[in-house]
Subunit: 462 residues, 2 copies
């Protein structure tokens, strides 16, 4: 085996090399992502309207599509230093296993207790809430990755944290719940009797085990009903992509240090927080015409918003209490098949990424979950990290691209985002280990049912 002696297995930036600003890719987009709409007036949401739900500073970031760089406050930089920089890893062992001439790198965001990149935005959102003098924040969580990240950030800053956790996860996946509780968060199974919308849902469906859409609705209501509280969200929003740009900025700094230029950059995409963050600075170069890269968004075949959705205004949540966003969507009523393991189950996609995809600045592929877990298992065995099911979507396509290089003999440089670890996803792995995992692709009819619920109004044809 021949190793390139110059490039270590892991490239760590020094503390002083860490980025001190976030990068806002919207500043370099010629066609800006469409604004959020007020579903009542069909007019763009104003700062005033958004500030009822979100922190002021975050609303500013949400609406600003011209400022390219935002200073990262010192307190956030300090927190970042506890678990960042994350390593950019050269996948020597995977390359050897595949016998590919491709050079594969991954940016590993799983080395923190939240287990994923979510912490990058959680600390930012918690910081701005604290800075505004708020008492606490509310949010929803599915399996618990985002809720855990937010709990950690709030514990650090001494901010109250209220998490509405989808009931079925609360009961069947108690471990992330306990991590959140260890960090002092109040975790409520949703739907609950603590909110009007929760009580209504419970009345109508006494046996329901909840959904993310319902949990969002409860979290928003809880924020509105408590003095000194705001609602925070872990993906989809422009502000989240801004905070997550730290992933891409570190990746770029690490590559630059060794004069490496990637050919292909790959990330899994649910709401878009990781992919958007990873590709932002590279996309900026492409938008400014300085460099060219291939970007590949990888989504589950069972929830294929980019590859099978429509580009239209739709509600951000199932409960229709949030504003509408212009995005690739399967319809806010779309719910992935019950056999779908792990996250990446959001019906829509970040407006920023949707616009970039619409403008053909990036590609998207959908992959089936058994092939995803096959890639996950191979990766775990040769690279020594048990990946999250979400992250494994990116692994799948990175392997596929590396195998194409093997056929053609091309020495392409592939970078992918390894968003997190799968330690709390062992139920899905067990299913795979037992040969009980199957694939599901929504039928034309499934998709049509989702599309039918997308709001119809002039200008929203699709």
């Amino acid at each position: 085996m021949s190793l390139n002696k110059e490039i270590p297995y892991k490239i760590y930036l020094e503390e002083k090399e860490m980025p001190k600003q976030w990068y806002n890719v919207r500043a370099d987009m010629k066609t800006k992502p469409a604004p959020l709409l007020n579903p009542g007036t069909l007019k763009p949401m104003t700062a005033e309207e958004l500030e009822g739900v979100f922190c002021q500073e975050l609303v500013k970031q949400e609406l600003d599509d011209t400022t390219a760089y935002f200073d990262i406050p010192d307190e956030i930089l300090k927190f970042y230093k506890m678990y960042r920089p994350s390593p950019l890893v050269r996948a020597y062992c995977l390359e050897e296993k595949l016998q590919t001439p491709a050079k594969i790198y991954y940016k590993f965001e799983g080395n923190n207790t939240s287990g994923s990149h979510k912490l990058n935005s959680a600390i930012a959102q918690a910081y701005y809430a604290k800075n505004q003098g708020l008492k606490g924040v509310t949010t929803e969580t599915g399996a618990g990755q985002w809720g855990t990240a937010l709990s950690m950030a709030c514990a650090y800053l001494g901010l109250d944290c209220q998490v509405y956790m989808v009931k079925v996860s609360y009961e069947q996946k108690p471990f992330r719940r306990e991590v959140m509780r260890t960090y002092g968060a109040k975790v409520t199974p949703s739907p609950s009797d603590t909110t009007q919308v929760g009580r209504k849902i419970l009345e109508e469906n006494p046996g329901t085990t909840g959904s993310l859409g319902c949990a969002i609705s409860e979290a928003v209501e809880a924020a509105l009903n408590q003095e000194g509280y705001r609602y925070v969200l872990g993906s989809v929003l422009n502000q989240v992509l801004l905070h997550q740009s730290i992933i891409g900025l570190e990746t770029k700094a690490a590559l630059d240090k060794y004069d490496i230029t990637p050919d292909i950059i790959i990330g899994c995409a649910g709401g878009g927080s990781n992919l958007g963050g990873l590709i932002s600075p590279f996309m900026g170069e492409k938008l400014r015409g300085e460099k060219d890269y291939r970007f590949i968004a990888v989504e589950p075949a069972s929830c294929p918003s980019l590859t099978n959705g429509v580009f239209a205004y739709d509600f951000c949540d199932t409960g229709m209490v949030c504003p509408m966003a212009k995005m690739y969507t399967l319809g806010h009523a779309f719910i992935p098949s019950a056999n779908h393991a792990g996250g990446l189950r959001y019906h829509g996609m970040s407006s920023v990424l949707s616009q970039l995809y619409h403008d053909k600045m990036m590609e998207a592929v959908a992959v089936e979950q058994t092939s995803v877990f096959e890639a996950a298992e191979m990766f775990a065995r040769v690279e020594g990290i048990l990946p999250a099911p979400e992250s494994s979507h990116a692994i799948r396509v990175a392997i596929d691209e590396a195998m194409k290089c093997k056929e053609t003999g091309e020495e392409k440089t592939i970078v992918f985002g390894l968003t997190g670890t799968g330690y709390f996803d062992m139920v899905a792995y067990e299913k795979y280990n037992n040969g009980e995992m199957s694939d599901y692709i929504p039928t034309r009819e499934d998709l049509q049912r989702g599309f039918d619920k997308i709001p119809k109004f002039p200008g929203n044809e699709f």
Copy 2:
């Protein structure tokens, strides 16, 4: 808050600074640890006898108490590069929280999928087995930390891995079991009908949920009964401490880089693998009279082998199939109270550490588990890492020592080993979060029952 600008939050060695040899502390000990005894003959175990159970090269390492340094084979160095060097972290946030003048550092071994330092020896033992042309290895595991590490190492080298997992853990803590299966290990709940000793135990106690002692007996029998198999063990043995010296060597290199000399070095101690590895190179300096350090072993009050045990020859396993070792022991029949959470439940202690403790080269303290989880929770909230219950014993005492510095105003430098993460220990955290955790200290009678079973023979008075 004032930060020392010169020392980063995390000190990472560069790849080229990584140790290329293990250090064998026995070489510098004036009184060598007593040899393993054959319980039949009461004579020291010979290499030939040991080679029936262990790999040849490992037997050499086990018996060699004069060679100070062993080269780490290239293949192991390559594997180490996947997850090492581990960071030496300056606990700025913990210091600030405690308002202590002490400077606290921890060596964090949890950033790998096995979740602990166990991988350092697992890859070494698997490598020597592979190198000897063996087909596979057998071992036992309790909650699964060691079994996971060994599975990862075997998957990497293409070696068969058979793990006997204590039945109650196999059934009630299925997640680490699934990690092992994902790495291709064959995991058998113990006692099982696959071995003679297992069948005997099942016959005598049909409803038994197993014990570590029984699992060891099954794993040893399985190794002896299969052509091309050997048994491996994750702690206690001299060879394990040798491999784990990588922890201390990296720690020392990182400290030296910044001209830091620790005053106190703290580690949790079950069988001694982590503590022995962490302190080895520092202990070497102390043994050679070059420097002085305080070393503190921290053990659970419910399983206090150093602080309440006797220094005598005893069986290494409950089933009495293994050789006898001279060590601090509570008696091979001692089983910690059922309310004891997490690991550190071994009845004895590494012979090396036992001898050093006997020679007053290191101290030991026992701590109660509610105070351990209190420290764990505080640490998790301020340092952002959810620690394993085992590691939290060291955190407890590091905090206690830092608080003494606060009283006296001394700016001592404290280094402790953070052996791993608690992601698979959420049942214990849940108990703590719910206020249902209690303490237990064995009574005089409990201890006496254990001592009574220690073999009596001339020269083994205690």
